[in-house]
Every structure is written in C-alpha cells, then in structure tokens.
Amino acid sequence: MSLTITEKIIRNHCKQKNLTAGDFALVTVDRCLANDITAPKAIEIFENIRQESDEIPFDPNKLILTPDHFTPNKDIASANQCKLLREFAHKYKIKHYFEVGRGGIEHCLIPEEGLVAPGELFIGADSHTCTYGALGAFSTGVGSTDLGVAMALGICWLKIPESLKFNFSGRLKEWVSGKDLILYTIGKIGVDGATYKTMEFTGEIIQNLSMSNRFTMCNMAIEAGGKNAIIAPDKITLAYLNDVGLLKYKMVNSDKGAAYIDTIEINCNNIEPQVAFPSSPENVKPITEVDAMKIEIDQSIIGSCTNGRLEDLIIVAKILNHNKIAPDHRCIIIPGTQKIYLEAIKLGLIEIFIQAGAIVSTPTCGPCLGGYMGILAKGEKAISTTNRNFKGRMGHITSEIYLSNPAIAAATAIKGYITSPSYLME
C-alpha cells in the first residue's frame, strides 16, 4: 500500500498494524517538549502518574524544557512558574533543560541543537511544534495533559490525519519568502482549511527553499488548522543536519501513489509579499495593494519562532543599513536564540539595528502573545513577523496586528506605514 511520509512515521511508532487515515493510534514518542506556560500542568500530571507506580521507567533525555514565553521572568508569577521547571529539571536530571542565557525560543532552538531529526515522532505542548515538519519529522502540538502522559509513559494518542498536498511551482518574486507562501496559502484555504489534516509541501519552489524558510512555512500550518506540516527531507535538509551535528536518522518519503484528499497547485509567479490584516491570518492582501493604503504603524516586531532566525535578521539588516526608524515608530528586534544573537553580533547586524534606532531584545516569545517586551496601547497598530494577529493578542483589545515577512516589517519601520523595500530603493 502506498503511504504518505506522515502515515509511515506514525505506523513506525505504533504497535497496531495497517492503520490508515482516520484510525486512532497509541504512538511511542521520540521526544517531547514543554515551556514555562505549559510545563507546570504537565509536571503535575507526570508526578500524579508516577505516584501510581514508581516502577515506570522514565527517560529524562526524551524531554526538553524551554522557559521562553515569559522569560527573562516578566513578573513574580512567571518567575514562580520558571522556578518549578528548574527544580523539576534538577530533580530528574533533565539534560535538555535550557536555562535563560543558554537557550532561546523553543522552535528556533530545538532544530539548532540537533534535538529533532527526520522520521522522528515529536510532540510539544506548544501549538507551533508543527515547525519541525520542515525536517521531515512528524511533529505536532498538544496540551499539557497529553504532554504529562507522554513524559511519564512515553506515549500519546493520535488520530492518523488525512493529507493535503500543496505543490508550489514557478519563480519567486523579489522579497517573497516562505512567510509569504504560507500566508498566501492560509488566505487561499482559510484558517480552518486544513483542520485535523497534514499539510505536505512539495514542488520545485520548496526543493529550492532554505531551511529557514521551510521552518517558517511549517510553523504556520497550525494557523490553517493543520495537525502537522511536512516537507520531504532532501539535500538541503541533510546539509542542515550536518551543520548541527546530527548524523543518525531515518529518511522517510511519501510513496508514489500515496493518497491525498486534495492537491492544491500554487503557481508563485504572481505572488507578492503578503500582509495579513487584523484579526485573522487569512485576511491577506498583496503588498502593492497595501502600500497604496498608507497604513500608519506604531510598532514593528521582528523575531519569534516564525521569523527569528539568522537569515531573517540578515534581510532586516540589509534594509535598515544606513536608514533610520521613522520618528513616531518603535522597532523591536528579537533574535530567536542565543546562538543566533551571537552570530548577529559577529556579522555586525546588531550594530546596524541600533544605529537605525531599533531596540534589540534578548530571545523571548514576549510580545508575540502579549506577554511583555512591547505591549500595545489602546488603538495602536503593529506590524509583526509573528504568526497570529488575533484581536488583543499583543495588548489592548482595540490594538491591531498586521502580519508580514521581515523585509516588509523592516521597510515599514523606516517609513512608518506599511510598505515594501522595493519602494525604499526607488
């Protein structure tokens, strides 16, 4: 029987035989992840199960803990949550606990640390865990109870998803990135267009896309309701894995003739950089249309698990170099991890950002979910390279968020209204 990558990986991780899309499976989890918001409840569940039987073997190397959402601790309550993680990590000798200053935003950090590989089954108590599909792993977001059970027993229940295939062809226009492709796709299928389903990205555009852009695309599958995203591992994946020092893994590919419930053809020749208007990632418009509207913006956020990687910061530096942030605008740049931050310093990017009048924050999810480090006041507008522009997400309920790629956000920071770098250089 012909199978998709996703079906194969799930089958490789469960005892039940011949399962297909729609069936429920109890799967073995290779690695699991929690952060400062989701770990406290997961730890409670874990301890509760262990009280039942302390003979259950626990593999501390399977768990990754990343205090990243409200860190460095934004207040006493978040400090207490992080303390709980730290004490748990000590108690159970969790090797992959990433202390503030030695880690960063989970979905930038984990691939960089070589903690996820092709063919693996990964669950994370964070919705953007779908990011690692970019490496050809089955990776999906779950809640704290799921995670606590996986921590204690190494298993998770799943419904095997049906797969949607997205075939990207043509050529990319200037300033068009993975972010634009995924925003365009969400605009096309809607925020529930892939609910319960796998989004498999294929085609010549994907084959030539950098890992950084692939992570960005897979990261936002959840914004279309997707259970997971997946890209077949290829030479670009292998080069990345080699760079991060991962040498052992199992490449899994979809069979010819595998079943997809639909194939969506996307020709990229005419796709422009996209901007998602408040308050849904599906409200997308092309940049030429948006530029004409001259929408004034108070603040730009450049970073996050979607667009906080080195490649993103390099693009932003190119645009901000010898330019100044608009007088009435605040630009906040957040490198995804300490490693990315350090590389950005070595490459001189941070100096460019500061000379331009931007601020550079330590790695944190912070403003993306309205935690801190850039909360919006009543009626303010932000452009953001993050993944969600829900009502009130970044601050006051009347504040508004526009989503874009890093180049559009940087150009906007200079002009003070939403625009493209193409217009800056005219």
């Binding site: 207490n80 919705s127 779950v142 809640g143 109870t145 609910t195 319960y196 309701g225 829900f390 009130g392």
Partner: protein, 165 residues
C-alpha cells in the same frame, strides 16, 4: 446530561479570546474561570453563573490558536459541561477530551439557541431540545475517545488502562 444553552454566532473563537495569555501565569482553574472569554464577552463568567448556562454553542473552528489547556480548563471551571460547534480546532478538541469535557461536533447549530434546555445523550447519539420539542442526531464518539471521556479524562485513562497494559 441536561443543561441550558449559551450561544455565540461566531466562528473562529480563538484561545486568546477564551483565556488571554496575560492570565497564563496561573493554572488555578477558578482564577482562569473568572477571566474566561472576557475579551470577547465581558459578561460571560457572570452570565453562566447567574443564568446557569452549562452548554456552550458556537460556530465552526472553535478553540483555534494556541495549545493552552487553560482554555478548556477555564470553560469547565466556570460551569460549562459541554461545547457544541460544527468543528473544533484540533488541539482544543484533544485538550477538552483529555480533561474530560465532552465536546460535540454538529453541523446544524442553527437548531440551538440561547436559553434552550437540552438533554444530551452522547452514548446514544442524540440531543433532545426540550424547549423546541426537537430531537437532533449527533455523531457518537469513536470508542477510543468515549473510553477517555468515561474514565474522566486522559490522566485517569492512563492510570486505569495504559499502566495496566
């Protein structure tokens, strides 16, 4: 299960609306319940208490967004015993099942309105709308999910069933 409906004619009610991130520094169910839905409907917590609403009905893609389990926890702690919508975002769906909060996928939510009294029989697969004298069929839960709900959630299921295996 018996209860009274509170209905929102709104699709894509996301987890930021159900429980804003500013309250995620706590996992106390009662604290979360106090702030449940406040950015969407300020009166929510007060209404469900005063009018004894226990069944929440909404349009499609309910619970989209983040993986925060605090969302179904806040609803459940506030007094919601069942949610009915044409579709749910998948992490919200599994979180609700995992904490033992039944959620029902039903296309024709136009058949239900605020203040309707319902009798829900998930096992037999129907909803009796007592107010409108109407019986509506619903899909039964797949047996695997029904077992988790019957056990009272995934933690209890894991303790009762998985460990024993």
């Amino acid at each position: 299960m018996k209860g009274k409906v509170l209905k929102y004619d709104q699709k894509d009610i996301n987890t930021d609306l159900i429980i804003p991130a500013r309250y995620l520094t706590s996992s106390d169910p009662n604290y979360l319940a106090e702030h449940c839905m406040e950015d969407f409907d300020k009166e929510f917590a007060k209404q469900i208490k005063e009018k004894a609403f226990s069944i929440l009905v909404a349009e499609s893609n309910f619970g989209c967004g983040s993986s925060r389990e605090q969302a179904p926890i806040a609803l459940k702690a506030g007094g919601i015993q069942c949610i009915i919508a044409p579709s749910f975002a998948r992490i919200f769906f599994r979180n609700a099942i995992n904490i033992g909060l039944p959620i029902i996928e039903m296309e024709r939510v136009e058949k239900l309105n605020t203040d309707d009294e319902l009798i829900i029989d998930v096992e037999s697969g129907f909803i009796q709308n007592v107010t409108r004298h109407e019986k509506l069929n619903i899909k039964k839960f797949p047996s695997f999910l029904a077992e988790i709900i019957q056990a009272g959630g995934l933690l209890e299921y894991a303790k009762k069933v998985i460990i024993k295996k």
